[in-house]
């Protein structure tokens, strides 16, 4: 494994080049260009606010500022996760020529796909910051947690990305399964709702490794409360397991890629 990592290091220039290509190519020949990186999460946030409004109506309560902010804060990482998994799932298949013709560590493809999605997240985060500032959400030292939380979700995305890209190369079914899971995943993940709404059943929802990350993000950005370190550790553990497991899985299958694509 150490040897693999040394080799990846040797090809780091290529990794950034492929990332650059993916970012650059993503919105080519589209009128909106990079605006899409902002527009997509904006659409998710708008629909999330719609859902929250419906909750509020049903509970005969008013939609407050914190709820809106929380939806916005959670929608972005979720959109990142969805796009990076979807994108990396196709990354090997859409680079068929390179997979079968030229040698280099192939994990570059799914990882670059995650990086390109991360770039989109940063662009969108800029817009989010303006939005949060505009609706006067305060800030506190709790924001220090944000890099760790984002790091956790990136690690998780990398792991899952490697697994689905390698598996999808052998069986095209994986692509469809992933699509379905990503589409319905939003119902099982607290993006449009808070786990607190479920009272003592909340911990069952938090078992979904993505849920604690989103809840903690929302806690430290919109409510200025310290996140629960135990749940962070739980997610981080899951993320690291996905990363290491995904990497080993990917490397094990890699020699057979060229023949089976």
């Amino acid at each position: 494994m150490r040897e693999h990592i040394r080799e990846f290091n040797k090809y780091s220039g290529l990794f950034w080049m492929i990332t650059y290509r993916d970012v650059k190519v993503r919105y080519k020949q589209s009128l909106m260009g990079f605006m899409w990186a902002i527009l997509m999460p904006v659409l998710v946030v708008i629909s999330g606010i719609g859902v929250r409004y419906a909750y509020a109506l049903a509970a005969h309560a008013l939609l407050n500022k914190a709820d809106v902010a929380s939806v916005a804060v959670k929608a972005l990482p979720w959109a990142f996760l969805v796009s990076s998994i979807r994108f990396s799932c196709n990354s090997l298949l859409s680079n068929k020529e390179l997979v079968t013709k030229i040698y280099f560590p192939k994990e570059i493809f799914p990882l670059a796909a995650v990086m390109a999605s991360l770039f989109d997240l940063f662009v969108a985060s800029g817009a989010l910051l303006i939005f949060l500032f505009a609706i006067h959400v305060g800030w506190s030292m709790q924001l220090m947690w944000v890099p760790l939380l984002l790091g956790t979700i990136v690690v998780f995305a990398c792991g899952i990305g490697m697994i689905v890209s390698a598996a999808g190369l052998f069986f095209r079914d994986v692509k469809y399964i992933v699509e379905v899971l990503l589409t319905f995943g939003i119902f099982f993940t607290p993006v449009f709702y808070d786990t607190r709404m479920f009272g003592d059943k909340a911990k069952w929802l938090l078992l979904n490794p993505v849920a604690p990350i989103l809840e903690c993000l929302s806690a430290c950005v919109t409510r200025q409360q310290p996140p629960d370190p135990l749940w962070i550790a739980y997610s981080l553990g899951f993320g690291m397991a996905a990363l290491v497991g995904g990497y080993l899985f990917f490397k094990r299958l890699e020699p057979a890629f060229a023949e089976n694509i």
Binding site: M17, R21, K24
Partner: protein
């Protein structure tokens, strides 16, 4: 051991042919189908085939090694194994030094990026770092002759431009070991010429090159040693000349010819005083021995000889009759032998020798071999073109134009 750049030892590679399961939906019926047909297990083995069988060879540092063989002989599989894209089923490989494989020069191109961006992308894929590419960028662009289109997305390129840009990037990679597969067949004649020159200059720089091509001329010009592959097995490893000859002999149909032919050409040999060969220096004398065998009684025969260039354009013709040997008559079981002597005053290139036996008076050709043999001509760089006119520079000086002189005074 240290001077070995590439080595393959008893390499085997197995492929499955026929259906490959790309989705679970395909897999399930196939598996149940197999359950109900137990006796089909023997057939299961037939679906595997060996693309390479016991292939061993080594290439020394600074050597140019060629691999030739018909389609499906396993050439590309060897390159893919050496460049670690595939793993051999059995056997081992050794690679010493930074290896770069030009299997598909435009593989890394992205249609939406401009030519310039693709140079960076493809250069990185082929193993150059950013600084290296920046320093060679102008060279690469001018080599490709695409200065005017370099900031156009490559999806707007013609396929020739696409391939030219690909080769230009590839030709400027600076590896210790270079693996080349059929990349020289891009672009027009001029561009190919420059590709060849570039390849030979890479070779002169002491690089190790493994070269795979159908272009026998290119192989024989670039490589000193070669290997002939036949259905995944090594047929011969030797000097390029003898390997090429072996390959060409292989390609010929068996000499007995069609049963219906009353006379047929039973043998054609190209040689000089040192024996049978296929490569000659420009201007050298070659002997062409033709043997004709008769099945029936045929009258008024003549042996005809043509030379054609690479594009099958006839550049020369002769026959026993025009050379003064009268028409001859053959009885069943009789052989006729003749030897032509030709001065090969052609320029560098590949030429095809066609032989026919026929009758002039009724314009009938009984048997024809095209090509009966292939000859490669080598010449000095002073001669370019189809023929060698043995140029000499007799006089050269600078003279002032008299009209200009008047105007000046």
């Amino acid at each position: 051991m240290a001077d070995v750049a590439l080595r393959m030892e008893h390499v085997y590679k197995k492929f499955r042919k026929g259906e490959v399961f790309n989705s679970l939906r395909d897999l399930v019926p196939a598996l149940t189908g197999r359950m109900f047909q137990r006796q089909d297990l023997a057939g299961h083995d037939q679906r595997e085939f060996w693309a390479l069988r016991d292939v061993s060879f080594e290439v020394k540092h600074g050597e140019a090694f060629g691999i030739i063989g018909h389609n499906g002989a396993g050439k590309s599989t060897i390159l893919k194994i050496l460049s670690r894209i595939m793993r051999p089923t059995k056997g081992s490989i050794v690679v010493n030094g930074r290896l770069s494989a030009l299997l598909e020069v435009s593989a890394g191109f992205h249609p939406d990026l401009t030519g310039r961006e693709n140079i960076f992308l493809n250069g990185t894929i082929l193993g150059m770092n950013r600084r290296e590419i920046e320093s060679k960028l102008d060279q690469i662009i001018s080599f490709s002759e695409l200065e005017d289109f370099i900031d156009t997305p490559v999806k707007r390129y013609s396929s020739g431009m696409y391939a030219r840009l690909g080769f230009s990037v590839a030709a400027h990679v600076d590896p210790e070991v270079l693996i080349v597969d059929e990349v020289l067949s891009v672009g027009d004649h001029m561009f190919q010429q420059r590709c060849m020159e570039r390849m030979s200059s890479i070779l002169k720089g002491g690089r190790t090159v493994l070269f795979v091509s159908h272009n026998l001329k290119a192989v024989s010009e670039l490589c000193s040693r070669a290997m002939l592959l036949k259905k995944g097995e090594v047929a011969i490893i030797s000097g390029t000349d003898s390997v090429v000859r072996h390959y060409l002999k292989d390609a010929q149909e068996p000499c007995a010819g069609d049963e219906s032919k009353p006379v047929y050409i039973s043998q054609v040999r190209v040689s000089d005083e040192r024996g049978e060969r296929s490569t000659f220096e420009s201007g050298q004398t070659a002997w062409i021995d033709v043997e004709v065998t008769a099945r029936e009684r045929v009258q008024k025969l003549a042996v005809l000889l043509w030379l054609a260039d690479e594009r099958q354009y006839q550049i020369f013709q002769t026959s026993t009759e025009v050379l003064g040997h009268s028409r001859f008559c053959l009885h069943p079981g009789e052989n006729y032998r003749c030897r032509f002597e030709l001065s090969l005053n052609m320029g560098q290139g590949t030429f095809y020798l066609d032989v026919a036996i026929g009758r002039y008076d009724i314009q009938k050709v009984y048997d024809r071999k095209a090509p009966a043999a292939t000859v490669f001509i080598r010449s000095t760089s002073a001669v370019r073109g189809v023929v060698n006119c043995f140029p000499k520079l007799v006089e050269a000086e600078t003279v002032l134009d008299s009209r200009l002189q008047e105007r000046r005074t």
